[in-house]
């Protein structure tokens, strides 16, 4: 058995969470979380950590230089830099609208990269 102390990053409250792991790394118990999201965060953090990614994509033929984007859902934590590489090679044609899909299914993660602002 192993105990891991985490800080939940699912919301700005930042609750301290204690996770008890079994010998095979499976989650036995989660305590300290204030809400369900904390439980889910702690379980995923100990088994398959993910993060949402926010960055910018180059805009072509518009007034704006770049448009902000986010991963529509969390991507595996270990793939953040690989995703950044793909995103930094991409560009979009102006105009861009909030919610437009800029890259579909980035690196086979099943997660789209979408615009989070309008760009002319």
């Amino acid at each position: 058995m192993e105990k891991r102390e985490l800080v939940c990053v699912a919301c700005p409250l930042g609750c301290g969470i204690t996770v008890t792991l079994g010998d095979g790394g499976e989650v036995l118990e989660v305590t300290g979380n204030t809400c369900k999201r904390g439980d889910a965060y702690a379980r995923s953090e100990c088994t398959a950590p993910t993060r949402s990614l926010t960055t910018t994509v180059r805009v072509e033929g518009g007034k704006a230089y770049v448009v902000p984007v986010k991963s529509a859902g969390p991507v595996p934590k270990g793939m953040m830099f690989d995703c950044m590489k793909v995103i930094n090679q991409a560009s979009v044609k102006a105009p861009v609208k909030i919610g437009d899909v800029v890259i579909k299914n980035v690196l086979g993660t099943g997660v789209d990269i979408v615009a989070t602002n309008n760009a002319e």
Binding site: G16, T54, M84
Partner: protein
């Protein structure tokens, strides 16, 4: 002279929420004056997520959060004037502004909401020896370079100050391929949210050096390195601990100051600690009909709280315009023993609303109590697992409790460790 019921100065999240609330309350003639090209304020450059969890129950990025309010505003008859800089607010609430199309604008308003936000403390506010070559900038300026202009200001970065903007920029620069060598923090604790320390520093193995500061910068045309040193309990650098760190960029994230030039010129007294105007429970300043909300009033770390506070100010302004706002005998509020300040600074005894007292503590406490007292009696006491300076707290005081307090009472809030 143009006539409006309400003039809102600043079109960030604070100004937009105040204007929308007043409009919902039936105020017809509202104008929002914004000096930038677009509405949204500083949120336009905050492209990371974490906005709106409280208010929308969703994790939005800054532009998305602002976008929701911009859309709501478009569906009202609120007049928006962007590229418009407010220059002065006169005693009779006449607002003077200037823009390219109207030239000099004089707006006579029944009520005014101040929502000018805050700006970052510049390097001049610190004493670091060394030349002023390129490569030294505030974290917010760097945020604008990267997120709006699409330009990387450097490759080897040291960040001074562990405020949220500095932490967010540590991650942002790392994702874009820069090497962030460390974040130095003068105090023995970080000024940022814990979640940002985890997901912006620990995720990328960026060291957070507490009780450490930058004592000198090196390099002529362009920054080549900085000297860092540990500080003692009196926050004085300890010379023996000095260490040279090569870098081409130094980002400062050493605090925000409310943008109160207009307020000062209008003769408003500012709170010594918040640097914002002193207000009552509806965020009315000492000047009748002039309200303030958002970062111009107190520096907020969560935009959700900015929205909440601005709705209170918008409601207050609407009540004032309709002649329904109570203003009479007030009781005071005071933060003591670890509580640095309280907003609002005064409360009308006959107020028609329960009042949240917002405050920040001056140090980190675990398992402490917040104790609220008036005239030697405890009004309420609340246990807290953790209190830290980086996070704003509040206590709710019921209006009947307020009504029962004698004239000239003061409500004090303190930490009991």
């Amino acid at each position: 002279m143009t006539n409006f019921d309400l003039a809102v100065v600043g079109g960030g999240p604070a100004g937009m929420a105040a204007a929308l609330k007043a409009s919902e309350e039936g105020i017809e003639k509202i104008v929002v004056l914004e000096r930038a090209e677009t509405l949204g304020g500083i949120l336009e450059q905050c492209i990371h997520t974490g906005f709106g969890l409280h208010y929308f129950g969703e994790e939005l990025s800054g532009p998305e959060y602002a976008g929701r309010f911009i859309k709501l505003l478009e569906d009202t008859n609120i007049v928006v004037k962007t590229d418009t800089m407010v220059l002065d607010i006169a005693d009779d609430n006449t607002v003077t502004a200037v823009n390219k199309t109207d030239g000099l604008l004089k707006i006579s308003a029944k009520a005014v909401v101040l929502a000018m936000g805050c700006r970052e403390r510049p390097r001049g506010a610190l004493s670091i020896a060394g030349s002023r070559g390129a490569g030294i900038m505030t974290a917010g300026t760097a945020q604008k370079y990267v997120n709006i202009d699409g330009y990387m200001p450097g490759h080897e970065v040291v960040i001074l100050g562990s405020g949220d903007i500095g932490l967010i920029m540590a991650r942002r620069m790392t994702l874009e391929g820069a090497k962030v060598k460390m974040v130095c923090e003068l105090m023995p604790y970080s000024g940022g949210l814990t979640r940002n320390i985890v997901q912006c520093l620990e995720d990328f193995d960026i060291p957070l050096k507490l009780s450490t500061t930058v004592v000198a910068t090196h390099g002529k045309e362009r920054l080549e390195g900085v000297t860092i040193a540990k500080v003692d309990e009196k926050l004085q650098p300890i010379p023996e601990t000095a260490e040279y760190v090569p870098c081409d960029t130094l980002m400062l994230s050493v605090g925000l100051i409310p943008e109160n030039e207009l307020s000062k010129n209008a003769g408003l007294t500012l709170d010594r600690i918040t640097n914002g105007p002193k207000v009552d429970e509806y965020r009315e300043t000492e000047h009748k009909g002039v309200f303030a909300c958002g970062n111009v009033l107190q520096v907020h770390d969560l935009v959700d709280y900015v929205t909440e506070e601005s709705q209170i100010a918008g409601l207050g302004a609407a009540k004032f315009i309709k002649g329904e706002k109570i203003s009479g005998d007030c009781i005071g509020t005071n933060g003591i023993n670890g509580v640095r300040y309280i907003v609002p600074q005064r409360i009308n005894r006959e107020t028609d609303t329960d009042v949240k007292l917002y405050f920040r503590v001056g140090a980190v406490y675990t398992n402490a109590s917040i104790v609220v007292e008036a005239n030697g009696e405890t009004i309420l006491s609340k246990k807290k697992k953790k209190l830290c300076p980086g996070e704003m707290e509040y206590v709710l005081i019921k209006k009947d409790v307020i009504a029962n307090l004698p004239k000239d009472s003061v409500i004090t809030v303190r930490v009991e460790a």
